[in-house]
């Protein structure tokens, strides 16, 4: 792993490194009338993805970021495969407005589809150009050449290294439509075992995160946040704090308050003193937590019908109706958000764990009143984020404070309670469903509605950066917008993948946001799959049909059937009648966004009758992410997703009252701890060589929740439709 030295971060590669980002963005329109694969459509230049130096060094570029999901390793695998190189010789540059393509956000399980696809095609085309050059130099047919480890070889033993062939690679070379990819049957790297490249450094204490950056002359800063949304700073006497040890500067702009100090502990000590000295007033009224779902459903809505199908169906003999609820949830990164920024010679450099360096740069430009070209955002790993947490806001803090102290790098890390109370939560959601069964247990009618705020308040403008709100001249966040289908936001996965010839699904978009919200892993899919898959079990029970059989009865998609059958088989669904007392089994399935990975989960829970405490004992998952590049990477994501979703499902709800957000730490927002971890979570990857990448990261968030609720029903005969399935709620339902 590279240490986070300035040289390492800012250094450039070999002779062919070209600032491609200055080229016209419409180059694609000139050269490629049809859409190029993946993110080649936004950056059609091959040099934007793969560069070969005269010494043969190969650098691959991605506009996506490593968030702990292992994308760095998978992208290197793809490039190595198509370039016929050993993975170890490839350097990968990730999201950096100074060096990489604008691939938007690293979100929505899109990295493999967008960047993986682009790199795969770009690498194959670069290799083809090099091969052609070798053929003409050696005077043989390209088909008679072979490539190993970066050397092109002729049958007679003559060979040329990639570095000797770079003259053939023009930095202006644009990707072509005709693409010869390697035959998946010949893969030696993709789909094969390759340990993650970042783990050795992370387990030995190397500087791996933005939190670990230590630039020469760097100072530490902390912001002081209002006690609740919209509160203003009424009074502050900071004179004694200005002279505290190490304090360089107290920055105040309206109600925006921060301190910069030489040492980190000095900054924290001064921040606490400022917090004690500050008198705050007012603030937005907080919603009543006890009535939040009624509140959400009573706010104005923008309705859209996202599915409306009608067909002649058998008569209904049975109609069921249910309402499912999900409270606000927290990303809860273990490392609070952090950024480092430096203003030097008119250029603001921001090292940030944002999910989108380009959108963040645009928002920062508005906040800082600087041209975007004068700002460089470099993605630097942080703690896992699972969506839009405080990353962009911390970048804004660092940049504002770097502007107040030009020349010196300023590092800002949020405190735990700041992360918990100011991060944008995942919205509270209500889902209502009604369905009818025919005499033979077929769903003949399906009516579904989901009420949700937006799931995207990412920095579209400067006003979406929270630190901008408290300043004397605050910026206004651009208004919330729904994410349209087919991906969807609150209504993501609101349309079941099942065969429902008569179905009506309405997305009730709620623009007013009682609490600050934005994107969290899975968006609305977590709740919609919880609702749909819980209800499928309720319908199966009403029809007197086994829940797995009932799903298969309504599922014709072959790949969906494969994961359902595989998970059931690996779990031993047929043999599960002999579970211990207090144990139950549950099943659930979804195809993420109905466009991404297929995932099915079968799991066993133990419910402690007296206390209501639920634990997932074991789980079997089957997943189809299309062509699998890193099989273990997929397993790791699915396993982690299942455990994280178990934590959301069993424990988590953001709490608040008139004073503000009260989930300030891990005692007031408990998450899963080791004693409650499952004994085993096995993941079966159904590999589809040659098929498109489908992404993986969010696939099990939804199915896990419903599988747990279904297993609790099986174990304790209580159907719980409100998340979380907390000990108190389960105990109350059991009635002990």
């Amino acid at each position: 792993m590279n240490a986070l030295s300035r040289r390492g971060l800012l250094g450039t590669g070999g002779a062919l490194v070209v600032a491609f980002s200055t080229r016209p963005v419409f180059a694609q329109a000139e050269h490629a009338p049809t859409k190029l694969p993946g993110s080649l459509s936004v950056q059609p230049h091959l040099s934007g993805w793969v560069q070969v130096a005269p010494d043969g060094a190969v650098t691959v570029f991605t506009g996506k970021a490593e968030l702990g999901q292992g994308i760095r390793t998978a992208l290197i695998q793809i490039a190595a495969e198509q370039l016929y190189l050993a993975p170890g010789v490839i350097s990968l540059v990730t999201a950096d407005t100074g060096r990489t393509a604008d691939e938007g956000y690293t979100a929505g399980s899109h990295s493999m589809q967008d960047s993986g696809t682009a790199i795969m095609h770009a690498a194959a085309q670069v290799r083809a150009i090099l091969l052609q050059e070798a053929a003409s130099r050696l005077g043989v047919d390209a088909g008679a050449l072979s490539t190993t480890n970066g050397r092109v070889q002729a049958a007679d033993g003559r060979s040329l290294g990639y570095g000797e062939l770079v003259g053939s690679l023009s930095p202006d070379q644009v990707a072509s439509q005709t693409i010869a990819l390697k035959d998946p049957a010949t893969y030696t790297v993709m789909g094969k075992k390759m340990p993650r490249v970042d783990i050795p450094g992370k387990v030995t204490g190397a500087a791996a995160y933005v939190q670990d950056m230590r630039l020469p002359g760097m100072v530490h800063a902390r912001a002081v946040r209002p006690p609740r949304y919209g509160a203003t700073l009424a009074k502050l006497d900071s004179s004694k704090i200005e002279t505290m040890p190490g304090v360089i500067k107290i920055v105040r702009d309206g109600s925006y308050l921060a301190v910069i100090a030489e040492g980190e502990w000095q900054a924290i000590t001064a921040m606490r003193a400022l917090q004690d000295a500050a008198v705050w007033t007012g603030g937005q009224p907080m919603p009543d937590q006890a009535k939040i779902f009624e509140t959400i459903q009573s706010l104005p809505v923008q309705d859209s019908v996202i599915l409306d199908r009608k067909a002649e169906m058998a008569p209904a003999v049975h109609t069921l109706k249910a309402r499912y609820l999900r409270p606000y949830g927290m990303h809860g990164s273990i490392g609070p958000s952090c950024a480092v920024a430096q203003l030097q010679d008119g250029v603001m450099t921001v090292w940030t764990h944002t999910q989108g360096v380009y959108p963040d740069r645009a928002a920062l430009a508005e906040l800082l009143q600087m041209p975007p070209q004068a700002i460089r955002c470099i993605h630097t790993e942080g703690s896992g984020c699972y969506g839009h947490n405080g990353a962009d806001d911390a970048a804004a803090d660092a940049a504002l404070l770097a502007q107040a102290l030009p020349g010196r790098p300023v590092r800002v890390q949020w405190m735990r309670e700041q992360e918990n109370t100011w991060e944008p939560f995942t919205p509270a959601i209500v889902a209502e469903v009604q369905a009818s069964l025919s005499a033979d247990g077929t769903i003949v009618d399906w009516q579904y509605g989901v009420w949700s705020n937006t799931h995207n308040m990412r920095p579209g403008n400067g006003g979406r950066l929270m630190p901008s709100w408290a300043r004397a001249n605050p910026l206004k966040p651009s208004p919330p917008m729904p994410i349209p289908q087919p991906e969807g936001g609150g209504d993501r996965n609101g349309i079941p993948l099942y065969d429902l010839p008569t179905a009506h699904v309405v997305s009730h978009f709620v623009p007013d946001m009682p609490l600050r919200v934005s994107a969290m892993r899975g968006l609305g899919a977590y709740t919609n799959v919880f609702a749909i898959e819980s209800f499928m079990d309720e319908l199966a029970a009403a029809a007197g049909i086994d829940p797995v059989v009932f799903r298969l009865k309504h599922l014709t998609d072959a790949r969906a059937r494969d994961v359902v059958q595989r998970a059931a088989q690996e779990f031993g669904w047929d043999k599960a009648a002999s579970l211990p007392a207090g144990h139950g089994r549950g099943f659930a399935f979804a195809r993420y966004k109905n466009l991404g990975a297929y995932a099915a989960v079968a799991l066993e829970v133990a419910v402690e009758h007296e206390t209501g405490r639920v634990r997932v004992v074991r789980a079997q998952c089957a997943v189809d992410s299309g062509q699998a590049v890193s099989v273990d990477g997929i397993r790791n994501q699915i396993q982690g997703g299942l455990v994280q979703s178990s934590s959301w499902t069993l424990y988590e709800a953001v709490t608040y009252d008139a004073t503000g957000i009260t989930s300030r730490d891990w005692s007031s927002y408990p998450i899963l701890r080791f004693p409650a971890a499952p004994d085993s979570v096995e993941v079966h990857v159904i590999n589809r060589p040659g098929m498109p990448f489908l992404g993986t990261g969010e696939a099990t968030q939804g199915p896990t929740s419903a599988a747990i609720a279904n297993a609790v029903m099986d174990a304790a005969k209580v159907r719980i439709r409100e998340l979380p399935l907390s000990q108190e709620r389960v105990k109350a339902a059991i009635g002990v």
Binding site: I199, V203, R214, I334, S383, R416, G641, I671, L672
Partner: protein, 165 residues
Amino acid sequence: MISLIVNGTTHQVDVDPATPLLYVLRDTLGMHGAKYGCGLGQCGACTVMLDKQAVFSCLTPVAVLEGRQIKTIEGLGTIEHPGPLQQAFIDEQAAQCGYCIAGMIMRAQALLERTSSPTEAQIRAQMQPNLCRCGTHIRILAAIRLAADTMRQAAIPGRVQEVSR
């Protein structure tokens, strides 16, 4: 000046004695392994060993550390020569974002130095104070079991072979 013994090396540090060890490790001594997570002793990201016990470095002022043995993840091995627990975490690919991992390894190290054959319940109880948000628990537990096996087989029961520094 306060004298701190970290991974067998004595350092003289000129800091406010109330400063928690975490900040001295990271900012004064340039050791990045221990992480700030909560500053409250609720997550364990900052875990280091102090005289054979796992402690929260975010809550431990350096004033009480004079003459005591502090061990951090940097003391267990290097990227070239990882210690048994570090190697086990690599072998099991037991990390996602990895932010919590240094703390996990130090808390597990304290257990394995004390108990060469821990039961599953002992491992889980030991790891209870440390949080992982990525959901890597299954792999972390597997890595600890693997390291326990490796360390037992390394002929010095219950003790780690220190990597020479």
